[in-house]
Structure formats: structure tokens, C-alpha cells
């Protein structure tokens, strides 16, 4: 035994500050962005699915659906933008479960980093990927005949709302990943709520065409509220209280699942 050992043990650790927490957040975001860049196949995969849905509803099914006062392409494409960020968020569940399984989470949790930085960095990187996918989908939408009919300011607010919605759901998927802790199960567990939210909504057909029991759910669930607000922002329809309702939904979901995720992370271990 040596004095050196005793001396090294009596070092006073520095305390956490906001500056250090932000630095941890930067480090984790960077790590996850590097992972995204180095797995381009996952990025492509998150674009393929919404692309198929877009082409399906634009060219195969769209012809049979009439929306009063609106071209169907302008009706459905904003909803598919939303679907693209929903799908993108699923990767959060997958990659979080991977980090748990490989023991990366154990390593991070044993480091003196800010606890929230692990999840915040993960979700921020995933948000960047979702934004990239959204950009691609907007390009594709314009290519198949979708047009923004509102002033640019309203359109930007609409895009912002889609991104906020996507970010809120990234936290939902973070919870899924932390609960199931297994990459394969995470993918399956994440896809079901996604389909319910997207199809049992005003995304592809007006809610009024659905049976009564489904209407109540479809009309009031968050995806419908947000889609209606986004459509109004892009196409210049009546916005009424839709926008505030939509923002409230997104923030509510975000805060709720952020708190749950953080708690799950504190307890999670591989």
C-alpha cells in the first residue's frame, strides 16, 4: 500500500454545474449523431416507409377519396410529413434498447456525467435525423404535386409544429426502449401505437367517414389535432383553437414522457 494510493483517494470531486451538464449533453449528442451518420442504412429505412405510404395514397388510393374544397394531395401530404417524424422516432426505441443490451448504459451511468444528458443527447440526435427525413419528404411531396398555399411564416410554424410533435414522440419511444430493453421487441412494440395514431386519425381520410365509435377517438387524439393544425397552417384553412390545442398536446406528451424516461433510466441497467 502506498501513500500515493491514499492521496489519490482523497481527491475532492468537482460538483455538477449547468455548464458541465450542457457539455455532457453536447458530448452525447455528438456521439449519437456520429452513430447516425455511420449507419446510413437506418436513415434510408426511416425514409422508405413514409415514401411508400406517400406514393400509395397519392397514386393508388388517392383517386378514390374526395375531400370537399381541397385537392387530396394537399390533404394527405402534410399528414405523411407527420408520419415520417413518427416513424423516425421509432429508431429511438431501438437504439436505446441496444445501448442497454450492450452495456453502454452501464458505462455512462458509472461516469460522473449529468444523468439527463444521456437521454437528452439521444433524443436531440434523433430529432436531427427526423428533421432530415422531413426535409426529404417535403422535397418528395413537392415533386408529386403538393403545394404550400399559405404565407411562408405560417408554413414555417407548421413545419415547426411537425418537428415538435416528432420530438414529443421521440420521448414516448425512449420510454418504450427503456421498458422493453431488447432491440427486436422494441421495434415491434413501437410500431403498433404508431399505426393506431396515424390511421385512426384525420390523416388519410376525414374522420366523418368513420363509424361513430371510432370518430370520438379519431377526432380528439393528438395526431388528428396536430394534423388539422398543420393543414390549416399550410393550406390557409380555419385555424381556430387548433394550433394551441396541438402545441398543448405536444408539450404535454413531451413533459410527461420526459419525466417517465428519466425515472426509467435511473433504474435501468443491462
Amino acid at each position: 500500500m502506498s501513500d500515493l494510493a491514499v492521496q489519490r483517494l482523497s481527491v475532492q470531486p468537482d460538483s455538477m454545474s449547468l455548464r458541465l451538464a450542457l457539455r455532457d449533453f453536447y458530448g452525447m449528442t455528438r456521439r449519437n449523431l456520429l452513430r447516425i451518420i455511420r449507419t446510413p442504412q437506418l436513415l434510408v429505412l426511416s425514409i422508405v416507409q413514409p415514401t411508400i405510404i406517400l406514393l400509395l395514397f397519392r397514386y393508388v388510393l388517392g383517386g378514390a377519396i374526395r375531400i370537399p374544397g381541397l385537392d387530396y394531395v394537399d390533404y394527405v401530404v402534410p399528414a405523411i410529413f407527420l408520419e415520417a417524424v413518427l416513424i423516425g422516432g421509432m429508431t429511438t426505441a431501438l437504439t436505446l434498447a441496444q445501448d442497454l443490451q450492450t452495456g453502454m448504459v452501464d458505462r455512462f451511468r458509472s461516469l460522473p456525467m449529468a444523468r439527463s444528458a444521456f437521454l437528452a443527447g439521444r433524443t436531440m440526435a434523433d430529432l436531427c435525423r427526423s428533421a432530415l427525413a422531413l426535409l426529404f419528404m417535403i422535397g418528395l411531396g413537392l415533386l408529386v404535386g403538393f403545394r404550400f398555399h399559405s404565407p411562408i411564416g405560417a408554413c414555417l410554424v407548421g413545419i415547426g409544429l411537425i418537428i415538435l410533435f416528432g420530438y414529443a414522440f421521440i420521448w414516448v419511444y425512449a420510454c418504450v426502449g427503456l421498458i422493453v430493453q431488447d432491440p427486436q421487441t422494441a421495434q415491434i412494440a413501437a410500431i403498433l401505437p404508431m399505426f393506431i395514431l396515424f390511421f385512426a386519425s384525420s390523416a388519410v381520410v376525414p374522420v366523418a367517414t368513420m363509424p361513430g365509435w371510432l370518430q370520438a377517438f379519431a377526432r380528439n387524439q393528438p395526431a388528428s389535432v396536430v394534423i388539422n393544425a398543420v393543414r390549416a397552417l399550410f393550406e390557409g384553412g380555419p385555424l381556430s383553437s387548433n394550433l394551441w390545442q396541438a402545441v398543448a398536446w405536444c408539450l404535454g406528451i413531451l413533459v410527461f414522457f420526459f419525466v417517465i424516461s428519466l425515472n426509467l433510466y435511473r433504474r435501468a441497467t443491462a
Binding site: 500500500m1 494510493a5 491514499v6 489519490r8 455512462f108 461516469l111 460522473p112
Partner: protein, 355 residues
């Protein structure tokens, strides 16, 4: 019960220092008292107590499922114990977790490094998360890569690394923070003997620099090679502790091994040797055509065995006496061989070994 690990490490180059520090003993690098952890119906840790002196190495030895990893997780603040107290550098893992995290370095059994990042990116990230400034973590990353002979592969993604390289990187990651306490969970499991030897040297160097190490292992040889103190863990309980020599002494006997020429003679040889045995029963291993037993009085026992067997007409391939290995220690304390050891006494199902 807590025993103090008395280090036998050679520190002759700093004898004066050594005497000084021994007088101020009492401060433990790691202290565990009565720690219990239950996962559902499984009692992973059952009233475990141990302590590690500053600058020494403690090896937690035990088979899979003995609770080794759980104890590491308690000490790294990943798992909260149901009962008992665990302290690192005098700080409680439950109330002072944040401080402890900056005092420990963890290398995990599953080589937790990010395989999409390069070796350098992995280490720099860990350095940043230890809250080192940029210049400092870059310098330490360079040093750690060099030390682990990974400089050439530093800018390749980790997924291209071999198993040994991943382990070295994982160990390097645990060094970046210059943490005074290193917790190494089976650092060499699954490595080839050469890489294992390299890692042993690295760990030894770290201890020479004043690090305190707690490592888990399934290998007797590893515990014997690295550790000042060995704690034998079995199904969550501490079954024995001491230096390798102390543990061997506690068995208090040598092992006599008899290889018979013809398996048919095994039972007869065992019967003939029965009067010589000290302590446990005579063991028969049909695969090795071997009979083994604990004896006292080294040469006398050997000669007596030779006489008995010759008189009984048992043809021999080999007759030998050896000091007990840690395998024997494990067997004697837990009632079964150590599954993880390469040199474990084979006790295959269906054999006639009795105990």
C-alpha cells in the same frame, strides 16, 4: 465480519513510504458491510462484507451467478442494495453516488465500448464525460491508446477490432479519468493467454501507480497472479477470504494424485488409499484415470501410497504430490469444482466421484 487485506506486494523501492502508510491504515478504499441484494426470488448478494486497502488488489472469485457482477454494480452505483452499506473512498454509494462516479473507473465484462465510434472517439467521449477539458482528455486519450498498444488502430471504428483489442480499449476507457479505484468485471474472460498476460501487466502497472483495484474473475490463476486478497463468492455469499497462501493453508493438506494404468483399478486404488486421507473423501475421476485425495506429511504419504498400491497390485502411470491449487480451495469451500477454471478438476456427470 470485515478482514483487512494485508498486502504482500513488493514495494521495496519505497520502503519508507510503505511504513508510513501502513501506520495510517483504517482508511479503506472500498468497504462493504452486510450488503444484500435480491432480484425477485434470487438472492444475488447475501450479507456480503469485505474491504480493500488503498493501493491493493482484491479478487472476487466465483462461478457464474455467484453475485460478482452484482457487487460491482453496487459499487459503481448502478444497483442499490436492499440492505447493508457500501463505501468507496469513504463515501456511501447511496448518498454520495455522484462523487463516487468521479472516483471510479469501470471496465465491464461485455466490453462496453461503442462499436460505431473509433477507439479515439470512444476515449475522448469518456474523457469529456469525466469533465476533463479538451486538451487534457486529448492528451490522456493519446497516452491510454499508446499504453494499450492501440495507437495504430485508434482511428478505426471499434467494430473492426478483435476481442482482445476491444477489451484493451474498454480498460483504456476506465483509465481516462485517472480514477483511484478501478472496478474490473471479468477483465480477461474469453481472452487468449497472451492477451491475458498483457492485461495482467497493465493492471499491475496501474496498481504500482497507486490505483486500488477490485476485480472479478472465474480464473484461479488470475486471482493468484494479481490479487493481494482473494474473496471466494458462491451463490451470493462469501465462503472464504484471505491471501492465496492463507486459503491454501486453510485446507492444511497437500494433494496426492494417482494415475492408474487401467481404469478397472480405480475403485480398488481408492479403497487402498482411504486410510491416508485427511479431511475430504477420496475423489475418483474416470476420464483422467485419476484418484486424488488430501494428505499430510508429504513424502511419508507419497511413500506409503506407493507401498499400498504396489502391495495391492495396482499398476500406476503416475504418482505425484502437489500443493493445493486454488481449484482445490474452491472445491473444499463450496463443495464443487470451479466451473470457470481451465484447470478445474473435472467432475463430469455420471462419474463415480464421491464427496
Amino acid at each position: 465480519m470485515v478482514i483487512a487485506a494485508s498486502a504482500t506486494r513488493d514495494v521495496s523501492h519505497s520502503d519508507a513510504l510503505n511504513r508510513d502508510s501502513q501506520s495510517e491504515s483504517g482508511f479503506k478504499a472500498i468497504e462493504v458491510q452486510g450488503v444484500t441484494k435480491r432480484f425477485g426470488p434470487n438472492l444475488a448478494l447475501d450479507d456480503v462484507s469485505l474491504s480493500v486497502e488503498p493501493g491493493s488488489v482484491l479478487a472476487l472469485l466465483g462461478p457464474n451467478g455467484a453475485g460478482k457482477t452484482t457487487l460491482i454494480k453496487v459499487l459503481t452505483t448502478l444497483v442499490v442494495p436492499d440492505a447493508g452499506v457500501a463505501r468507496v473512498a469513504g463515501r456511501d454509494v447511496q448518498t454520495d453516488a455522484k462523487a463516487i462516479r468521479s472516483l471510479i473507473g469501470l471496465a465491464g465484462q461485455y466490453a462496453s465500448v461503442d462499436d460505431l465510434l473509433t477507439g479515439r472517439e470512444n476515449l475522448e467521449l469518456v474523457g469529456l464525460l469525466y469533465h476533463l477539458d479538451r486538451a487534457e482528455y486529448r492528451r490522456r486519450t493519446g497516452d491510454a491508446l499508446e499504453r494499450m498498444t492501440l495507437t495504430g488502430a485508434a482511428d478505426r471504428p471499434v467494430k473492426t477490432y478483435s476481442g482482445g483489442m476491444r477489451r484493451r480499449l474498454d480498460l483504456a476507457a476506465s483509465l481516462i479519468g485517472r480514477a483511484p479505484v478501478l472496478l474490473l468485471d471479468e477483465p480477461t474472460t474469453g481472452l487468449d493467454p497472451r492477451t491475458r498476460n498483457d492485461l495482467w501487466s497493465f493492471i499491475q502497472e496501474l496498481v504500482d501507480e497507486g490505483s486500488t483495484v477490485l476485480l472479478t474473475t472465474q480464473y484461479m490463476e488470475e486471482a493468484e497472479h494479481l490479487a493481494d486478497t482473494i474473496v471466494l463468492l458462491d451463490t451470493g455469499r462469501v465462503v472464504a477470504r484471505g491471501t492465496a497462501d492463507q486459503l491454501k493453508d486453510r485446507i492444511g493438506a497437500d494433494v496426492l494424485e494417482v494415475h492408474v494404468a487401467d481404469s478397472a483399478d480405480l475403485q480398488r486404488a481408492a479403497t487402498l488409499l482411504q486410510p491416508l486421507r485427511e479431511g475430504d473423501d477420496v475423489q475418483i475421476d474416470p476420464d483422467l484415470k485419476q484418484v486424488s485425495l488430501r494428505v499430510t506429511g508429504r513424502v511419508d504419504a507419497l511413500l506409503a501410497a506407493g507401498r499400498e498400491l504396489e502391495a495391492g497390485g495396482v499398476a500406476l502411470d503416475d504418482l505425484a504430490i502437489r500443493r493445493p491449487s486454488l481449484d482445490d480451495v474452491f472445491l473444499s469451500f463450496t463443495g464443487r469444482p470451479s466451473s470457470g477454471s481451465a484447470t478445474a478438476t473435472t467432475d463430469t456427470p455420471g462419474s463415480e466421484a464421491r464427496r
